[in-house]
Amino acid sequence: MSVPAGWEAVIGLEIHVQLATRTKMFCRCENGTGSGGEPNTRVCPICSAQPGALPSPNRAAVERTIAVGLALGSEIAEHAIFHRKNYFYPDCPKAYQISQFDQPLCVGGQLAVPLADGDHVVRFERVHLEEDAAKTVHEGGEGGRVAGSSGAVVDFNRCGTPLMEMVTRPDLRSAEEASRFASFLRQTIVALGVSECDMENGSLRVDANVSVRRPGEDGFRAKAELKNMNSFSFLERGIARELRRQAEIYEGGGEVETQTLHYDPAADELTVLRSKELAHDYRYFPEPDLVPIEPAAELLERLRGELPELPGTRIRRFERELGLPFAQAADLNGTRELADYFEQVVASSGDAKASANWVLNEFSAHLNEQRLTVPESPVAPASLAGLIALIADGTVGSAGAKQVFAGLVAGEGGGDARAIVEARGLGQIADSGALAALVAQVVADHPEQAAEFRAGKGALIGFFVGQVMKASGGRAEPKLVQQLIRDALA
């Protein structure tokens, strides 16, 4: 574990998720998440804070945030308002961010991370809605660093992108837990269809509040805020590094300072971020340009009705109803598309175990090799189910089945596994007459082994089966072959 001996880790996460709406949070410029277009081309008077411009909130962003709250079992506010959070920075054109303060859209809630031996529940403080900042690119200076740069250029394309902020309670007790939770939260949000949640392009950003205390100690010690770690493994390593640092400070008789840190994964080092000047006094006050949001019962009912089955629930259902082991149930829920695909295969094949194996092995390998998403694959769920049925009824053996799958990937047979079996001649030979001839030949070719077998070296059965399989091009039905060999050598 990443927690230094003799210490307990106390970790909470602040997760920022760019919502994949068509337009920005408070104006109708196209939402530039992902491909933002040419700099400063998705900008209007509102998101560039021209004098006199006013915000108008995006219904889709509000509804998606409420949907996330419903999925987490949060209490949805009866009366939510926006606040202005005041700070000067070149990426914040109004010099205030429209955010939420003491009356957010969603309060509380939790996410249970399913594990082999039970659920790990992490509680949320709140989920609220705000707007993203612009991007600043430093000019000159070494490697684009802040220090020594001659200036910066601001691009407002990202400015005003809807940003959902999720704050957990300090329920996480190790770096691994934190990263596992963040990853499962991502999986859940993606399944909800509200965001791409791509850490590399910044549509998912995770900050961690980290402190340590002695086991059994009440209350919390000073915490450090770790900013913008852009992968789950960096998140884990950054937290682990910070836990060690804090433990060492205390053990050396020092005190940990409350501060904001930036993790440099290459050096495995934490550096103090320059604090935004006077950032501690944001002077929050109710945004007078906007009116309150009071979600109606009908809206909540509709949104609740539209929620998909969430990964956590689905994993448990796969275990319970389909009898799958936890690891497979979890892997099948890596993405909603894969789980949907799997369920379609099961629906046609009626064999959950075989379907899980095929989806997780051959099918997933095929997606990886060809860099395809589930819907892009040429292998329709019914086709895969058809193949599974051919295996079950003995039409094809395992070697043949792999070739049939290759045929499905190649688009052969119009997606009909049986047609591929026929076209490629992959059908299993279960005709005793035909196989008996092969067996007779193999026995004739290996008199020494035949003698040994007859003398009682029963283990040689495998050798003979192998030889017959080889001679049949892998198509011989193995059980029948075994029987025929025993008969021949009796």
């Binding site: 709406t21 068509r22 337009t23 109708r28 410029c29 196209e30 040419e38 700099p39 400063n40 081309t41 998705r42 900008v43 209007c44 008077p45 560039s48 108008s56 909130p57 995006n58 219904r59 889709a60 962003a61 509000v62 009366h79 308002i81 005041n86 000067f88 920075y89 070149p90 010099a95 600043t136 690119v137 430093h138 000019e139 200076g141 802040v146 740069s149 001659s150 200036g151 910066a152 250029v153 601001v154 691009d155 407002f156 320059r274 000047e277 006077l278 006094d281 002077r283 109710p286 007078p288 906007l290 009116v291 309150p292 949001i293 009071e294 979600p295 109606a296």
Partner: protein
């Protein structure tokens, strides 16, 4: 409620307004006078009175998620004190 030079300095820092010493002293005097009047509002016992943020009792005014054209970039950049070909240049951040 009183206000001293340090308060004015702090407020000026929050508001990002550079003031020279004379201006600071003048403003401190003026603001102290104003605050002496308006600060008395704090003495009222209004614990039972709910705040009014807005005179209008409107709720749920939300816009549909349908794109509208953005500004042409040259128009957006036309007013910039220091524009590059595609953005707004600012002095170094956090020297």
């Amino acid at each position: 409620m009183t206000l001293d030079l340090a308060d004015v300095r702090h407020a000026a820092a929050l508001a990002h307004i550079a003031l020279d010493e004379d201006e600071l002293a003048d403003l401190a005097g003026e603001l102290a006078g104003i605050l002496a009047h308006i600060g008395r509002i704090g003495e009222l016992n209004l614990a039972d009175v709910p705040p009014t943020a807005h005179a209008l009792d409107l709720v749920n005014v939300l816009a549909e998620d349908l794109p509208r054209p953005s500004l042409p970039r040259d128009l957006l950049l036309a007013n910039a004190p220091d524009a590059t070909a595609d953005g707004f240049r600012v002095p170094p951040i956090g020297a």
